[in-house]
Subunit: 341 residues, 2 copies
DNA sequence: CTGTTAGCGCCTTCAA
DNA sequence: TTGAAGGCGCTAACAG
């Protein structure tokens, strides 16, 4: 532990009390708007507090109130994370902050490489009382964090669908609707066979989406040529596409979870001499500026990451203030039509 | 202030002392690896501490040590922020975390809409002792935060070039080199006239880059058709490009600060029937996956955002631990050649 | 080597 | 209405 910083002592309520020749209790009451002081002395106290530039010391308050005024957020970050994930996440964080702007809460952020480190961080934070609540994102199919949260006694809000996995307050998004919108759009365009290229099913929402995709396709009378994870690298992606298009019946539409992958596919398809959308249609989840710079633009499902985050933030506050366990939809999916379909 | 949470009391050093019938001082010494306890009792103490699941309470430590173990980071976030900015920032944050992974420090993050709110946050955090240090990004041409930092007695590291603006430890990136690489690349391709489309010069680095661009161009014997801020909207951008290409002599190369803008320009130029790179070359700062999905790919200056952040993190630690005022280069620019030039 | 004492800055009974 | 005292959990100085 490094040596204690020797910065100038800040003014404390003791200083104010001494200055005014009052007891610290009176000062404390006045400063916190509590009864127990006359209006006159309260005024005096508030004024000199302002003059002396007093602000409550956070550590002291925290020690006494057992509240850190911190909301913990751990980002398990794959260095290869695609741009639009970053964009969504930063907007989400921005939204998460939103309900806290007029309050003292702030976000304690930490990035880690794997779940083990993430869990360690939660354990540490919880036992040290460093955060008042946790926000959990990217729910995995078999998520070791969910039992952990039950064990640690820290309020937590889960961002994502945890129905059947855990009994925790959650903020989720309508993946079923997103898939239905996608499929219905394709059906309306006369497509009869589609394929889905997802980002892996280790994440819960990957599975939810695949299931919803299958269900919606069946209802719309659309055949599924394949539901496969995306591959990295232009060459591998091109090969994957070729295989996909060789299947019988061949899909006339591709649904992506990642707009970056969709954009790459677009480029590959054109390289293969195929026309989009005439020969094959593309559409993707997670609308982003990326979808507008491709030629043609990418039809995408739009979701308001900021609103999503803000809803999560409000759920955290509700949990903290009234112990209200919320289960709300964070954002609504909307189809944005562009040239690719 | 909401009511105090009534979670089960965690075990404290008092509990351990009582359990072992020792004084709390001995326990404290043992737990902190300080001399003053025999090895035997230390062992005993450590073991029962572990058994009882003890962890130091952060608020108490913080109160006593005057350290919050928090590094403050405020993001002034324009809701219209482009994707690749988000990507760079999240990678930067990831890097910033890097030096803290094996330590107790965490990042206190807050997003705000304007400088006023940002300044208010710094003031609050500083006076409450909520952060041990601040990391300042996006230095503006006339930056009101710099005098503020001198006033507040909080250690701070500036990310960006502040030479001549403030005497603060800083981590900067080689914008001059980036511009020189760009210009030299163009010169080598035989270009004689270029234009620069930047993201506004309210930010310090915007100005630095423009100045460096002009200098490098002069040295390379390249004429500058224009140095103008980008405009938003496809139509406006197309008009801007048309004007630019109508100037005499017309630029045969365009340098962008934003790869999103460059990608949009690429699309617009092709819409105008121009070939890239034959008729006009494009290149951009801030390499990102975006640069690979356009057709042709965008030549770009690559900078390691993670390394940049990590360097900043190390500068913060140095400042905190040894009061060492560092002034280091955070990352190195490198030209990535692609089809657009 | 061990224990006692006194803070860190704030809040909260309980008496006066 | 005001003040004195105790505690939040931990650390540090000094006494034994």
């Amino acid at each position: 532990m490094p040596s204690r910083p020797h910065r100038p002592r800040r003014t404390t309520i003791v200083d104010i009390a001494r200055e005014l020749e009052l007891s610290i209790a009176s000062v404390s009451c006045a400063l916190n708007g509590k009864p127990g002081v006359s209006e006159a002395t309260r005024e005096r106290i508030l004024r000199t507090a302002r003059e002396m530039g007093w602000t409550a010391n956070h550590a002291a308050r925290s020690l006494q109130s057992r509240r850190s005024q911190m909301i913990g957020l751990v980002l398990r970050r794959d260095p290869a994370d695609a741009v639009q994930i970053s964009d969504f996440m930063l907007r989400f964080i921005d939204g998460l902050n939103q309900p806290f702007t007029s309050r003292e809460e702030a976000i304690a952020l930490r990035t880690v490489r794997d779940v083990e480190a993430e869990i360690r961080t939660y354990r540490d934070w919880a036992s040290q009382g460093r955060v008042d609540a946790l926000v959990i994102t990217d729910v995995m199919a078999e998520d070791p964090r969910l039992p952990l949260l039950a064990e640690l006694d820290v309020p937590a809000v889960v961002v994502g669908d945890v129905r059947g996995l855990a009994d925790l307050p959650s903020v989720w998004t309508d993946d079923e609707v997103a898939m239905r919108l996608s499929i219905e759009h394709l059906a309306a365009q006369g497509h009869r066979t589609a394929a889905r290229i997802h980002e892996g099913e280790h994440l819960r929402h990957g599975r939810v989406r695949s299931a919803a995709f299958a269900r919606a396709a069946q209802q719309a009378g659309i055949g599924i040529a394949a539901m496969i994870p995306s591959v990295v690298g232009a060459d591998a992606a091109a090969r994957q596409l070729q295989e996909l298009l060789a299947s019988d019946p061949a899909p006339t539409a591709l649904q992506f979870d990642s707009s970056l992958r969709a954009a790459e596919a677009l480029r590959a398809l054109r390289g293969m001499g195929l026309r989009v959308p005439e020969d094959i249609a593309l559409l993707t989840l997670d609308n982003s500026p990326l979808c507008e710079i491709t030629e043609p633009g990418l039809t995408a499902i739009d979701r308001d990451a900021f609103a999503y985050g803000a809803t999560a933030g409000r759920a955290v506050l509700a949990l903290l203030e009234t112990d209200a366990r919320e289960d709300v939809q964070g954002t609504t999916s909307r189809l944005v039509r562009r040239g690719s379909s």
